[in-house]
Amino acid sequence: MIHSKIPLVLSILLAPAFLHGQTSPLLLRGARVFTGEGPFREGLSILVDGGKIRAVGKDLPAPKGARILDLEGTWITPGLIDGNTSLGLPSPHENEESSEVTPQIKVSEGLDLGSADFRFALHGGVTTACVSPGGKNVFGGLDVLVKTAGGPEGARIFKDAVGLRITLGTMPGMGNLAFRGGRSDSMYFRRPTTRMGTIWEIRRAFYEAQKNRESFTGKEPDRATRVLLAALDHKIMVRMTARSDADLRTALRLAREFKLRLVLDEAVDAYYLCDVLAAAGFPVIAAPPSVPQAGDQATPHLDTIALLAKAGVKVALQTGQGLGAQALIREAAFAVRGGLPRTKALEAVTSVAAEVLGVEDRVGRLAKGLDADIVVWSAPPLRLGSRPLRIYIEGNLVHSEASGGGSGR
C-alpha cells in the first residue's frame, strides 16, 4: 500500500518541474497535425522555443539540446479559441446593473483568474477564451482575451479591451420595470423596456460620443466616450448579440449607420439571412449548436453554421454564457453533424476564431512566430471519445495525461 503511493508522490513532486521551466527547445513530431487550415497532415514536426513556434515543417532537424517528443498515433491542433464565455466572472454579477450604458467597464478588472472554470475549459482543449460581460446591459462593457493557464496570472490576460459588447433584443429591457412591479422609487424604474428603447440607447450613446468629439475642448473625454469613439473609429470590434431575425437586421442597419466593425454574436436566426450576412461581410460568433433553445423568440437550427459557412460567412464558435453548452470541441462536432465540413469546424474554433477576434498574429494557427499553444489529442479531436493528452500554452506544458493513449514520453 505504501509502495503503491510512491509513484503518486513522485509525480506530485516532479509535476511542477514539468509544468514550468521548459527552457530547452522542444520538437514535437510523429503526430498528425492540423495547422489551423486544411486537413490533418502527416509527417509534420513542430519546433517550439521560448514560448513561440519556431518552425513547422516536414522532417525538421532537431537543434542542439532540443528535447524530442515522439507523438506517434496522436493528433495535434492549435489551442482552441472560445469566442464568448463568462469564465472567471462571478455568476450573478457579470453586469453592472445600475445603468444600461456601461461601455467603459472592463471585464478584466473583476476577473477571477484562479477560478476553476478555466481549468475545466483547459481540459477541453481551450487555451484562449474571450471573456465577455453579461448581456443584461445594452452596452455591457469590454471583452478580454485570456489564456486559460500558464504563467503568472497577470500575464494570462493577453489582450484587454478587444471588443465592445452590445446586446440587442429584449434582454436588456427585461430587468427594468417588469421585475420591480413598476416601483417608481426603484433604481430599475427606467428605460429601456422595449426593443425600440434598447436600440435608441445605442443610437443615443453613439450620437453623444460623436457630439463630444465634435465639441472637443482640449480636455480628454470621459472613459465611456473614449470607448465609444474607439468603436466608431474601428479601433475595437463591436460585438452585437442579436438572436432573432429582426435583431440581426437591426444590427446590420446600425453597422451601416455608424460604420462599425461589427461582429455578430450568437446570431441564432442567421439561417434566414445567410446571403445578406455574406454580402455585408460581417463575421459571426455563432451560438453553440447543441443548445436547442434561444432567447428573443429565435429558433435554433442545427445546420445554421453549415449554411453560413457555405454562404461564405466567417464563423467562429462560442460556448456562451450560461447557455448550457458542451465543451467547445463537442460544439464543433455538433456543427459537423449539422453539415459543416470537419476542416471548417476545426477552423471555426482555431484560425477563424483568431481572425474574428483580431488576434491572428498571436494564436489560432501552428505557424512560425505564433504562440506555442498546442493541444495533443488522443484521437481525431472531433470524435466523441477524443481528449487532450498534453496541452502547451506558450511552450509550457500545462496539462498532461500520463496514462494517455499516445506515446508521449
Binding site: I2, K5, V9, I12, L13
Partner: protein, 544 residues
C-alpha cells in the same frame, strides 16, 4: 500533507537500527521517577521483546499513573498501545546484543519533546453527515455507529495536528434525545471503535431555547417521568417473562401428553393444535351464547315492550336453529359402532390438557431499554443542563434514582455549584460555545473559567467541541483554563482521560494513542512530531 504521506511508516521500520537513534546517552543526572519503575529483569525482558517500542522524550504525561508523568527525559516502553514501563536515562543500557525492541529517540531533534496521550474531543461532529447535525426528531434508539460516514480525505489533518486523535460522535446535535454515540479514531476514516460504550444523551435544558422559571423547574420532572416509564416497562416485561415461563411449562405438559397418547387417524385435533388464522379469532369470540327460554326472557327485559315481540320471534328462531345444529352435531358424533363410542368415552381424553395460550408480549421499546441500562449502571447518561438550579435538580434526582454514571453537558453555571457536583461524583462536559441568555450567568472566558473553577474543586471535567470545525479550539480552551488557575495536569487529564471516559468507556493506558510533541503541548510553537497508536508510529513533518 505530502510529507505526512511519505512518513507513514510501519513499526517494522528500519529506524530501530539507525545509528543516531540507537542510544539514549544523556549526561544529565539520573532521574527519580515515581511511577512505573520496573525491575532490571523486567527491563531486560522488555528489551528482548520485539513487540516493544522504546520512545525517549524529555517529558511525558500519563493520566493513568498516580504521579501523572515526569518533566525529565525518560525512556518509555510500549507494548501495543499500553505503556509498560518508564526508565530513567541511566537505567537503559546502550543498544546491546540480542535486543529486539525498537527504539525511537525524539530528544535528538527536539530537546524539549513531550509525550502525552492523544487528546479526545468529547463531543464532535466528525464523520457525521452534515444533514443530520441539526436533525431533531430522534429517540434514544438511534445509534451513531449506524450513521457515520467516512469523511473527506485529509480532513483529519487539522485535529491530528492539534493532538486530537479520538472523537466521540453522537447520532445528532439537534435532537433532545440521542442514543449511544460512537468513539472514532480520526485515523480510522470513520470506523467506530469496537466494544461497548456510548452514552445516552438527554437535553433537559438549552441555553438557546427560551424557558421560563416554571419550565426550568420541570427539568427534573422530565427526567423522572422518563425513568418512571422505563421502570414501568421493565415491570411489564418482567411479568411477561414470568408468564412465558409458565407457558413453557404448560406447553411442555401439553406436548408430553400427546406424545404419550398419540392421535389416531380420525381423531379430532386438540384445540389450538393448528393455530387459528389471524383475524378469525375475533369473529369466533363473538359467537352467540346458547339460547334457552330463560335466557330469552332475560334478554327481552333489556328492550322496550313494544319491541319485545319482534325480538322474541327472532331469538326463538335463533334458538331453534341452534338446537337443530346441536342435534345434527350430536348425530354426527354418535357412534356408528360400539368401538367408536368407547374411544369417545375414553377416560384418557378427559384428562387431555388444553393447549396453553401464548402470553401477550408488551411491545419492545428500545428507548426505555436504553434508559434501563442507565439505571442498571451499564450505560452512561449525558444530561445537558445549564443553570445552577437545573444542575441541582438533576443531581438530586440522580441520587434518588441511583444513577451511577452521569455526565453533565454544557453546565454553564457549574462554577456556582462545583462543590455539589463534586459531592455527587459526576463529571462535566464543557462546550466552548455558549449563548448569552437572560437568567444565565456566564463568567468571562466562560468555558475556561468554568473549567478552572471545577478544577479547583476537584471535579472531573472535559471539553467537547460540539461541532467539527472548532475541535482545534479545545487545546486553546484548556490552556485558557490554565491561565485562569487550573492545574496543568488536571487540564491534560481533561483533554485525554476524562474526555474518553465521558463516552462511557473505561480508560486504559494508551486508549487514545500517544502523541509526541516538539515541546510543551500548550506552547503555540509546539508541533506534533509523531502519533503512535500501538501499531504504527506516524511521523508528521511538523504538521499542525
Amino acid at each position: 500533507m505530502r510529507s505526512n504521506r511519505l512518513f507513514v511508516l510501519p513499526l517494522l521500520f528500519h529506524l530501530g537500527s539507525a545509528p543516531s537513534l540507537l542510544q539514549g546517552q544523556d549526561s544529565r543526572e539520573p532521574v527519580n521517577i515515581a511511577v512505573g519503575i520496573a525491575s532490571p529483569n523486567e527491563l531486560q525482558n522488555l528489551l528482548r521483546d520485539e513487540n516493544v517500542l522504546f520512545i525517549k522524550t524529555s517529558a511525558f504525561f500519563d493520566p493513568t499513573s498516580a504521579g501523572k508523568g515526569s518533566r525529565e527525559p525518560v525512556w518509555l516502553a510500549f507494548r501495543g498501545r499500553e505503556r509498560v514501563g518508564v526508565f530513567s536515562m541511566d537505567e537503559v543500557p546502550p543498544r546491546g546484543e540480542g535486543e529486539e525492541a525498537k527504539r525511537m529517540d525524539f530528544t535528538k531533534d527536539a530537546p524539549g519533546s513531550w509525550l502525552t496521550p492523544g487528546f479526545c474531543d468529547a463531543l464532535s461532529a466528525w464523520f457525521l453527515d452534515p444533514a443530520s447535525w441539526k436533525e431533531r426528531g430522534l429517540d434514544l434508539s438511534v445509534k451513531a455507529r449506524e450513521r457515520l460516514q467516512p469523511w473527506q480525505k485529509g480532513w483529519d489533518e487539522l485535529p491530528l495536528g492539534s493532538g486530537i486523535t479520538t472523537v466521540y460522535v453522537p447520532p445528532s446535535f439537534g435532537a433532545d434525545q440521542a442514543g449511544p454515540g460512537a468513539l472514532v479514531k480520526l485515523d480510522s476514516g470513520g470506523d467506530p471503535e469496537a466494544g461497548p460504550g456510548g452514552a445516552l444523551f438527554l437535553r433537559l435544558a438549552s441555553p438557546t431555547r427560551k424557558a421560563t422559571n416554571l419550565d426550568r423547574g420541570k427539568v427534573a420532572k422530565t427526567l423522572a417521568s422518563l425513568l418512571d416509564a422505563a421502570k414501568a416497562y421493565e415491570k411489564a416485561r418482567r411479568k411477561w417473562k414470568k408468564e412465558r415461563k409458565e407457558y413453557e411449562k404448560k406447553r411442555k405438559a401439553f406436548l408430553d401428553w400427546y406424545r404419550k397418547n398419540p392421535l389416531k387417524p380420525g381423531d379430532k385435533e386438540p384445540s389450538g393444535a393448528t393455530p387459528a388464522k389471524k383475524g378469525k379469532g375475533r369473529r369466533s369470540g363473538r359467537r352467540m351464547a346458547k339460547l334457552t327460554p330463560e335466557l330469552i326472557e332475560k334478554i327481552l327485559k333489556r328492550y322496550p315492550p313494544q319491541l319485545r315481540d319482534r325480538i322474541r320471534k327472532q331469538l326463538e328462531a335463533q334458538m331453534k336453529l341452534q338446537q337443530a345444529r346441536a342435534a345434527k352435531a350430536k348425530a354426527e358424533a354418535a357412534p356408528k359402532d360400539g368401538k367408536k363410542t368407547a374411544s369417545a368415552k375414553d377416560p384418557k381424553k378427559k384428562t387431555a390438557p388444553k393447549r396453553p395460550a401464548f402470553p401477550k408480549e408488551p411491545k419492545r421499546d428500545p428507548v426505555k431499554e436504553a434508559l434501563l441500562e442507565v439505571l442498571a449502571g451499564k450505560r452512561l447518561l449525558r444530561v445537558e443542563v445549564h443553570r445552577a438550579e437545573e444542575i441541582r435538580a438533576v443531581l438530586a434526582l440522580a441520587k434518588e434514582r441511583k444513577i451511577g454514571k452521569m455526565v453533565l453537558v454544557g453546565a454553564s453555571e457549574a462554577w456556582k455549584v462545583a462543590k455539589e457536583i463534586r459531592r455527587a461524583g459526576v463529571s462535566v462536559l464543557l462546550l466552548p460555545e455558549t449563548v448569552k441568555q437572560p437568567g444565565l450567568e456566564l463568567l468571562p472566558d466562560h468555558a475556561a473559567a468554568n473549567a478552572a473553577a471545577l478544577a479547583r474543586e476537584g471535579v472531573e471535567f472535559c471539553f467537547g467541541s460540539a461541532g467539527r470545525e472548532s475541535a482545534r479550539l479545545l487545546p486553546v480552551l484548556a490552556a485558557a483554563a490554565v491561565a485562569r488557575g487550573a492545574d496543568e495536569n488536571a487540564v491534560l487529564t481533561a483533554l485525554s482521560r476524562a474526555a474518553y471516559e465521558s463516552s462511557g468507556r473505561d480508560w486504559k493506558s494508551g486508549a487514545t494513542g500517544w502523541v509526541v510533541w516538539s515541546e510543551d503541548p500548550f506552547a503555540p510553537t509546539a508541533r506534533v512530531l509523531g502519533l503512535f497508536d500501538g501499531r504504527k508510529l506516524r511521523l508528521l513533518g511538523g504538521g499542525r
